[in-house]
């Protein structure tokens, strides 16, 4: 194995170990450190994962819009790799937000779904992410795909405050800032930090993968020419 390959192998191994460590720490804190909630029991523990993925879903959307704007400004596909990686990770986090939110809602409110402002906003965000994924899958030219994806990302970002405003004007039942014991707050913080690092790592890996795939395509085109 060459020195560069060895370095890459070590780096990858290190990244995977750190990612696994993050997830293990978060799960351990959720199940071993957090006290059992009196009324909801074990179902309350969903909150720790739910808040973490919800925050990442929104953060990835902001990152996607910013990097999309940078692509339109610079016309460098490296920015589109960021945007695309953020889109895919954001979609995953948004899907997890809806799934965990629904499970929690069933335990807390005895309903799988309700048109609460935050749930509606999460659903709209998920629908936007999904539409952007479908759009990207249908365009072959990388620059055209990047341009179209960027337009949808920017329009979607402008739409989010309006969605929040419109849905908030309806009566909501989502807890705004639920009362939590100090230990629960610590566990929530650990969970948010660990899952944020884990998904950031996934995002970085996906971005590198897209970058390498693009380089490979360029090399193939050069070899064929």
């Amino acid at each position: 194995m060459s020195q560069t390959a060895e370095k890459h192998f070590f780096n990858d191994y290190l990244w995977h170990a750190v990612a696994a460590g993050m997830v293990t720490t978060a799960i351990a804190a959720i199940f071993l450190l957090a006290p059992m909630e009196e009324t909801m029991g074990i179902a309350q523990r969903i909150v720790y994962l739910h808040v973490s993925v919800a925050w990442m879903g929104l953060a990835a959307f902001v990152l996607m819009a910013i990097t999309s704007g940078m692509y339109l400004f610079r016309r460098d596909l490296a920015w589109d790799h960021w945007s695309r990686a953020a889109l895919e990770i954001g979609w995953l986090c948004c899907s997890l937000t809806l799934a965990t939110g629904s499970l929690w809602a069933h335990a807390a409110w005895n309903t799988w779904w309700t048109w609460d402002p935050r749930l509606t906003t999460a659903f709209v965000l998920w629908a936007m992410y999904s539409a952007a994924l479908v759009l990207r899958s249908g365009v072959e030219d990388p620059h055209r795909r990047a341009r179209m994806g960027a337009i949808v990302a920017i329009v979607g970002m402008l739409d989010v405050p309006l969605v929040i405003m419109a849905t908030r004007w309806f009566r909501g039942i989502h807890p705004k800032s639920p009362h939590m014991e100090p230990t629960m707050r610590v566990v929530l913080l650990i969970s948010v930090v660990c899952f944020t690092l884990f998904f950031t790592m996934l995002l970085l890996l996906r971005r590198s993968q897209l970058h390498i795939a693009d380089m490979l395509e360029d090399l193939q085109a050069q070899a064929e020419a």
Partner: protein, 216 residues
């Protein structure tokens, strides 16, 4: 460009009859399913009306650029000695007119089918309709240009536009419901302001982004 598009539609009757027919059929289906007492019907009539307008109107939005591409007019359109902003504003105007034509049929039809006073105060309903049309057409025209570049333009457009116009559909539905209940207080104005803000934000943003959407 506006008169070219309107004249072309008047001569060929390619989209508007289908759009109106779809609107009427969807309205009939909704009215059939929502056979409720007037008090309950008032709560949902705005949502049903605006969803019908959106789904039928998507046909017109979809043809804004797809027709140009299919008929080989795209290059001609781009080589027109006008800025992309003018092309966008022309297409936006045509779509606003198409949605207005649709509403001229659907609002009286909903009033007849539900027996609710949708036209008792035409002024507020017209304000909601104008702002609603502008918002849907602003987003729809831009995203129609985006969707027409892909392989799946026909089914992609509603998928792209519907999540974006959810605040607008919500606002228009609530403003219509309040108008039916003769409530023109602060909450009605709040929804109208939301519709106005939506229209201003997306017309401005679409003008800025349209150039990137039509770039070859």
């Amino acid at each position: 460009m506006v008169s070219k598009d309107l004249l072309s539609e008047c001569r060929s009757l390619r989209v508007w009859p289908a759009m109106l027919l779809l609107g009427v059929v969807v309205a009939m289906m909704f009215a059939m399913q929502a056979d409720l007492p007037p008090q309950q019907l008032r709560q949902i009539v705005g949502g049903l009306l605006w969803l019908t307008i959106f789904f039928a109107g998507t046909l017109a939005l979809d043809r804004s650029f797809a027709a140009e591409r299919e008929d080989g007019c795209w290059e001609g359109l781009l080589s027109y000695p006008v800025s992309p902003t003018c092309v966008y504003l022309a297409k936006l105007t045509v779509n606003v007119v198409a949605l207005a034509a649709l509403e001229c049929v659907l609002i009286p039809l909903f009033a007849i089918l539900t027996d609710l006073p949708l036209l008792a105060h035409p002024g507020p309903i017209i304000i909601v309709a104008i702002l609603g049309n502008l918002g849907i057409a602003a987003v729809g025209t831009l995203l129609s240009a985006v969707a027409s570049t892909g392989k799946q333009s026909s089914y992609l457009l509603p998928l792209l536009v519907l999540p974006m116009v959810i605040p607008l559909v919500l606002g228009a539905a609530e403003a219509t419901r309040l108008a039916v209940e003769h409530d023109f207080g602060p909450s009605w104005w709040r929804w109208v302001e939301l519709l106005g803000a939506f229209a201003i934000i997306f017309v401005t943003a679409s003008i800025a982004l349209f150039e990137f959407a039509v770039e070859e």
